[in-house]
Symmetry: C2
Subunit: 351 residues, 2 copies
């Protein structure tokens, strides 16, 4: 069987099984460190004996022609985004980004100036978020790829995606759909030098991970969070699957930027539900915790609730309370197939 | 300018400059962690306030057709080797391997069985060395690549590659050249299912990083170590460049396995000096420390000395004390060019 038959999520489940035995048999690190959260969340987490700091570990990769194209992502923005997706994972745990290892796979014909631009973008986001590039690897490759591995730290509690419970409210830390809309605009105008004065394009090119929000939510006692990278509906589906619960989203409550509705008056809801790379946080909490939590994050909005039901099912309700979609599915990297009931788009394909 | 004009090592120097300002301006991690060793060694190192553990951070990537081919590396061995190169970096610092993040870039046509084999090999080496896979990323890619990011830990001192001083003796923790010789045998017999009963092929397919040796050397007070991954002469050249010193190797003292001399009676010294992927440790220390250190590692041998001279220059002396090479250069990934005076071979090209 080929992995394109199995699909990305089927392969991920297998890999989690394959790495399980090692986890059980193998107390790594000779007692000098201890794993507190393994594979399957936005980041793994570990601690050191008799020390209050929890450390997070995450990694994310972008491949040319799969996750970006030169038509929509200049090198400097690519550097920003390669770090942003990792910083967002740390934000989802409630952590502060710390050390980054940067691996570049590059064809020999790559211009040195482009790599300078890439590092300029990475330095910009590191400076803004207090992260630091401390090493990496540089390899020859027929296709350009960028892998970032990032640690994060906290002295506070860790949010996970596996503790959502019926009765929890569901919220997001900011507007969604803007990045996907910006990508649509860029695909319709293939000049990569378009100035990012359009707010949707800026959201696509320079997403700002919600690190401060993540810290505030964790401090407020929010137990469950993940970042929205594959689209609100798909990511809520994953959160629900991890927690063995279902969820309902009330679409009138989903926050979006004004430009999304004005630019895409008929498609804005699809972009908000199924677009990707928003890098806001999706979180759940009991109502009393939620009420304090959303006060601590200005841009946050309660958009639904966790309910009993088939694990991973997400019901999307319109203003009248009728379900308009119950898939919650997302794009699959290997099958190149979207869920049957919705016109999901991969993030690098033209509409 | 293209990176193929600049070369791998030129680009690495630029990247170290580009990431420097961030390092200076940016005390990352909000005081919850502190960087003690940045870019440029086998691994970076950090600590946590008021805690005795030092943590190491390293990453290494293998790209299909560049670092391996299916003709010479079955999937299970590929999994072993992808971890081995990272474990070896941690060994060079004196650390114990701990947490691994594994990123796979895979074409959709990849067989699921091959990925199962890959993880079997990774689990084998993790079990042997007390490391653990705690997460990763899975992406679609036109070319197969494997990136591993690994942490390590120690309560003891950290060895670096930048403190070698004239008067230090130079040693290796075990025999060199066997892996490159095994690769030559495999390239001459392109059947990937050759059983690894040949000791040279076993050295190529299942290199055993010297973690125990690294811990023993650090405990014995050895200040300087790095792992031998690009070939003894090239790696000693890098160590000397980092330390702004030169070195001499006395070739009769270089340890090799018997099979290397019997299989390659005329080429064994070239393979020992310029072959790669040995994953033994190269280390330097003052004579009194060295004498205790080599006693603590059975397979270790003193092979030369650090001398004043042009930073990075390595003089290779024959039994009569005459210099037979003074380049110490290695393979460059981007220019695809070797040093002019020696027939260095890339590790995946036939001789």
């Amino acid at each position: 069987m080929r992995i394109s038959d199995l699909g990305e999520f089927g392969l991920i489940e297998l890999i989690q099984q394959w790495t399980q035995p090692t986890t059980a048999q193998n107390p790594a690190g000779e007692g000098l460190c201890r794993l507190t959260l393994g594979n399957g969340d936005d980041a793994a987490a570990g601690t050191f004996p008799h020390h209050p700091v929890t450390e997070f570990y995450t990694t994310d990769t972008m491949v040319d022609g799969v996750h970006f194209t030169s038509a929509t992502t200049p090198w400097r923005d690519l550097g920003w985004k390669a770090l942003a997706s990792n910083i967002s994972d740390v934000a989802a745990m409630g952590g502060q980004p710390a050390w980054a290892l940067v691996t570049l796979g590059l064809p020999g014909a790559t211009a040195v100036h482009d790599i300078a631009e890439l590092y300029a973008g990475m330095n910009e986001i590191c400076t803004e978020y207090g992260a630091q590039i401390i090493g990496g690897d540089l390899v020859s490759s027929p296709v350009t790829f960028i892998t970032v591995a990032l640690t994060g730290v906290t002295r506070g509690p860790t949010m996970t995606r596996s503790d959502a419970q019926p009765g929890h409210q569901v919220a997001v830390s900011g507007p969604v759909g803007g990045s996907a809309a910006g990508l649509q605009l860029l695909l319709n105008n293939s000049n990569p030098d378009t100035p990012p004065d359009n707010p949707l394009i800026a959201l696509h090119r320079r997403p700002h991970p919600h690190v401060a929000a993540g810290k505030a939510l964790a401090a407020a006692g929010v137990p469950v969070a993940m970042d929205v990278s594959d689209g609100l509906a798909a990511d809520l589906g994953k959160l629900c699957k991890s927690s063995s619960v279902a969820a309902r989203i009330n679409t009138p409550n989903i926050p979006v930027v004004d430009a999304l509705k004005t630019t895409y008056p008929t498609r804005w809801l699809d972009l908000a539900l199924y677009g990707g790379e928003d890098y806001v946080l999706l979180f759940t909490a009991p109502p009393d915790v939620m009420s304090a939590a959303v006060k601590s994050v200005k841009s946050a909005a309660i958009i639904g609730e966790i309910v009993p039901g088939p694990p991973g099912q997400v019901a999307i309700m319109d203003a009248s309370g009728s379900a308009i979609d119950t898939t919650g599915a997302g794009w699959d990297h290997f099958t190149n197939a979207s869920a049957p009931t919705n016109a999901h788009q991969p993030q690098t394909s033209p509409a």
